[in-house]
Symmetry: C2
Subunit: 110 residues, 2 copies
DNA sequence: AACATTAATCGTAATATTGCAATAAACAAA
DNA sequence: TTTGTTTATTGCAATATTACGATTAATGTT
């Protein structure tokens, strides 16, 4: 069926999965890296930087924006995108907590 | 077409995306959390802990194992799974580098 | 050997994601 | 207003993911 029964999991687990999922495509990783690199970026710049069609980039940007990790500012006909630093920090805290789960000192694992 | 042209992206970008993708499902997040929590865990324990069918859990375990994040040890008829701490640490370094990208101090963003 | 237990694999249905051509929308400039 | 520029949206086709019943495989138990 492929139905993700999100009620089965905790809010925290679903949140981690949602953030991770958006990083689960190299195009979105590339977009975010580019936004970090140049501070502010027009959609068209990303289209030429990354080798994907404009609607595809636009779609990826939409997902990133929907999760709040980036924001877009309309400037005339073009749109300037940048990292939403506040939300990025919040997301980072969530992900770090997951990644830094402590491994028990006793190495009694199978 | 939905074809991920991984040649378009750097190895680093593809690696980040691969790790992130495996965290992009709450069931796998839950499995990993459980493995961290109890240090060693039989497949059957995960099936009863998480509310998914045995083949489904087995499939998720396979993905985690394929990426090297967990290892499984056969013990009689059952299989004991645990975190591969060495690879987890390596993965963490990769992901931290991505998450900790520095945000330029000058807030000249759009 | 016969049976029980546990996990992996196979096959398949349902759903989600990805990519892009075509088009629309929003705005600026002539 | 017409034209050009830039981005968003729509509508698909291709592919990938998820879930699970049925089965198989491997091992232990009687």
């Amino acid at each position: 069926m492929g139905l993700a029964k999100s009620e089965m999991f905790t809010d925290a687990q679903n949140e981690i999965a949602l953030f991770a999922k958006v990083f689960g495509h190299p195009a979105r990783v590339a977009i975010l890296q580019q936004l970090f690199k140049i501070d502010a970026c027009y959609c068209g710049d990303l289209v030429s930087e990354i080798g994907l069609a404009q609607p595809t980039i636009s779609q990826h940007l939409k997902e990133l924006k929907h999760l709040g990790l980036i924001k877009g500012n309309v400037e005339g006909t073009s749109v300037c995108y940048c990292i939403n630093t506040e939300n990025w920090t919040k997301m980072k805290a969530t992900m770090l907590q997951f990644l830094n789960q402590d491994i028990s000192e006793k190495d009694n694992c199978c």
